[in-house]
Amino acid sequence: MDVSIVLILLLAGTLVTLFSGKSAGKVALAFGILSLVASIVLLSDYNAGKSINVLATWMENPQIYFALNGDGLSLAMLLLTTSLLPIIIYSTFGSEVKNPSSFYSLILFMGFAMAGTFLAADGFLYYIFWELALIPIYFIALNWGNGDAKERQKAVVKFFIYTFAGSLFMLAGFAYLYTKAGNFLVGNLSNLRLSDQEQFWIFLGFFAAYAIKIPLIPFHTWQAAVYQKAPTAGTMLLSGIMLKMGLYSVLRWQLPIAPYAAKAFMATFLIFGIAGTIYGSIVALRQKDLKKLLAYSSLAHVGLIAAGAYTLTVDGVRGAVLQMISHGFVIVGLFFAAEVIYRRYQTRDISQMGGIRVQAPKFTSMFLILVLASVALPTTFNFVGEFTVLYALSTIDIWFAIIGGLTIILGAYYMLKMFQNVMLGETNAKPFADLTFQEGLTMAVIIGVLFFFGMYPKPINDLITPSIQQILNYTLKS
């Protein structure tokens, strides 16, 4: 069995779901779970030392391979995708979805594209998946989003054009690499001996794509608006998985291909990342819209992750990957909590909330756990990542750790403030039913994952470390 099975499953799911009418959600969930199972089987194959890679010639001229690599890093991201996908699909079951077959089909398609992005070992293939992921989310946000239609269009189109713009520069970079290497295989590209100047431009070209996708400040302006306008499932896909595409790509493509530039720019991008962390935290403080607040919190987190990745140390990168995975889960959970509230109050305006705890103790507890996980309380998965990243930063320069570490203060500040304003206080006049079984299960699964890996991150760690080591070997080779 090789990794293409997941892609085939997801693509098949897309098609089947498209034609399954009212039961689309269940079909999609089934395919999501199937792909999760497949990924787990793949994982065990990988751990057993079996090859799960795919390498087939797609075209002779230009030399393009259908190459999928399942190394530890890719598998970790694949697992993140395939485990979040069923959760996201399941999470929508509580709300009315118009035109469900298209909706779920688009979600699966997006999963397909994202999984492909994580697996692709051929630059061309990778780029195709990368761009492909943009289309479903565009339609999901456009058609199933909320808020004023005009505003939504503006935000979504901006998002699309902006991210597309960034990736085109990456495409130009790939085109250049192709002329040098004659194919797109990541191994070959990493082995290219590019001149410093070439690396500089390639790095910048890739950076344009990744900085917008991740997003790093000041390229983040699309983020909050889209998160706010997209339907929650879309926001989850965006924040839970798609953001990680950019971060993953930094590791997989940007660093090994342009190692000199990576080293030369390291400090700059560390500062970018850390500045984003602080900036995101501060802006989040005064947000009125719950989803926007979470968007900025996400901005803060990915800034730190990016900083971790750019430390070019094993710890930093490993922390970044751990943090990517944990952030994926926690942010999905948080957005789901926002959705739970929205289902009952039909608003995301924080000022209209408050006093929910009295009526919904189960929800409160779960929400609080997610909030705490997001502020990286020890024993949660997020702590492991954040600790590792901050530690790596401290080995570069203790000031990076101190300033980056401000996020644990500011993060606590805005998250708890949000929690207080949303959940606590005098009983809200509007009734608030506690979690349904479906909602509770969704959140419980996420929380379970967060705690389990918070206490026992070793499996993931063991999975990703060899590939990270390998990437850094490429990057740090002189």
Partner: protein, 456 residues
């Protein structure tokens, strides 16, 4: 040669069928005939032959492009049936003009002598003048025809002048002889002036800046089917011919000339895209988009030795997307007085398949993966980086970004606006043409090498 004969024969057959009063049979018969022609054309693949004193040559280039033209021709003729439903009496005229035009197009890519080229381009142009003005009670159509005619004859004059100077320099019209002579030291300067004038004429035909002014007006005013024809077939034909002229005559393109092409290419992309942003009429928008695609296709000339395959691929991708898009535009603007974007409101709800086809077509034009337009752009980028023209690539990248803006305007209208009217029935052929064209587009998007390696 066979292709040319077959198509011309079909054209005459059309006229005969009209006389025989079997109008209904015209379109099906033509399509079948064209499919046969396609077979004849493809059968020639791999041969290198010349016919009749080297007037017509058959090689991979001509066969591949001819096949593309025939395919496009089939689509366009398939759409004609419904489009001319109010002018049944003239249907044979329309179809035969299109067939003759197709013959002109084939002649343009398979010429071995400049006279064939000139006649081919004139057949094509005159057919287009006629088709543009063919709604003779519609002043807009008249105006479009007039504009196209005037500017087109003007350009023909310049092309003719160019041919004349080449003849003056070489003493022959045969491109093989010309290309042999270009190697000699005693090359009169007239040759280059001739090439430049010829190029200008061709730049006009493909609507490159600053010779593009006719395009939006003519596209807008012409009957929509004609617009489809112009923006797909005519543009691709002109570009292929331009390419063939330069390579066939071994015009030994020198640096300054490349600079000019580069500047025009960048200008076309930029002007086309920026202007397209603010157009209310979708036909006008597609016209400007066509201008920008002309700029993209011009990029192939900067790496002329190796980019024939790329050009073929880009042309196919662009034309197929264009056909698919126009099939939907034709449906939507049926019985409408204009082609403004608001007509597309809510198409995603009333006609999801058509909307999906149009969306895919626009995405292809914007260069989003799996659609052929993406790979086309990518191939262009690669070939231009190879040639060292990074600036063009960067300009192309920036322009691709701008282009998303207007393509998405239509997509937005389809999916986010409420429908303004009830469903109308969709003629089967519209569905068929749109879906088949976009499937072809996706197919070559997934297997680019199938097309890109046709011309070695």
């Amino acid at each position: 040669m066979n292709t040319l004969l077959a198509i011309t024969g079909l054209g005459v057959l059309c006229l005969l069928l009209e006389i025989a009063n079997v109008r209904k049979a015209i379109i099906p018969l033509t399509i079948v005939g064209l499919l046969g022609t396609l077979g004849i054309t493809v059968a020639d693949y791999g041969k290198v032959e010349s016919h009749y004193s080297n007037m017509i040559v058959t090689n991979d280039f001509s066969v591949s492009f001819s096949a593309l033209f025939v395919v496009l021709g089939i689509f366009l003729i398939a759409l004609s049936g419904d489009f001319y439903r109010d002018a049944q009496t003239k249907i044979s005229d329309f179809v035969s003009i299109k067939l003759f035009m197709l013959a002109g197009a084939v002649a343009m890519v398979s010429f071995g002598n400049l006279s064939m080229f000139f006649l081919g381009i004139e057949v094509l142009s005159i057919s287009l003048y006629i088709l543009a003005a063919s709604q003779r009670l519609n002043i807009r159509s008249n105006e479009a025809g007039m504009k196209y005619f005037l500017l087109g004859s003007f350009a023909s004059g310049i092309i003719l002048f160019g041919i004349c100077l080449i003849y003056g320099a070489m003493g022959t019209f045969d491109i093989v002889e010309i290309s042999e002579l270009t190697g000699s030291a005693e090359l009169p300067d007239w040759f280059f002036i001739g090439i430049v004038l010829l190029s200008i004429g061709m730049l006009f035909k493909i609507a490159a800046v600053p010779f593009h002014f006719w395009a939006p007006d003519v596209y807008e005013g012409s009957p929509t089917l004609t617009t489809a024809l112009m923006s797909t077939l005519a543009k691709v034909v002109a570009m292929a011919t331009f390419y063939k002229l330069l390579t066939g005559m071994n015009a030994n393109i020198y640096y300054e000339y490349e600079i000019v092409i580069m500047v025009i290419s960048i200008a076309s992309m930029t002007v086309g895209n920026v202007m397209a942003l603010r157009q209310a009429s979708i036909k006008r928008m597609l016209a400007f988009s066509g201008v920008s695609h002309a700029g993209f296709m011009l990029m192939t000339l900067l790496n002329i030795k190796t980019s024939a395959g790329t050009l073929l691929y880009y042309a196919s991708a662009y034309a197929l997307a264009g056909i698919a898009a126009f099939a939907i535009v034709l449906y939507v603007t049926r019985n409408k007085s204009n082609e403004d974007t608001y007509n597309f409101n809510g198409l995603g709800k009333t006609r999801p398949v058509l909307a999906a086809v149009l969306t895919a077509a626009l995405l292809s034009m914007a260069g989003i993966p799996v659609f052929a337009g993406f790979f086309a752009k990518f191939a262009l980028f690669t070939s231009n980086i190879q040639a060292g023209y990074l600036i063009v690539v960067i300009a192309a990248v920036i322009n691709s970004i701008i282009s998303v803006g207007y393509y998405f305007k239509v997509i937005l209208a389809m999916y986010t606006q409420e429908p303004t009217e009830d469903k109308k029935p969709v003629p089967f052929l519209f569905y068929a043409v749109g879906v088949v064209a976009i499937l072809l587009n996706i197919a070559i998007g997934l297997y680019p090498s199938a097309v890109i390696n046709l011309i070695k």
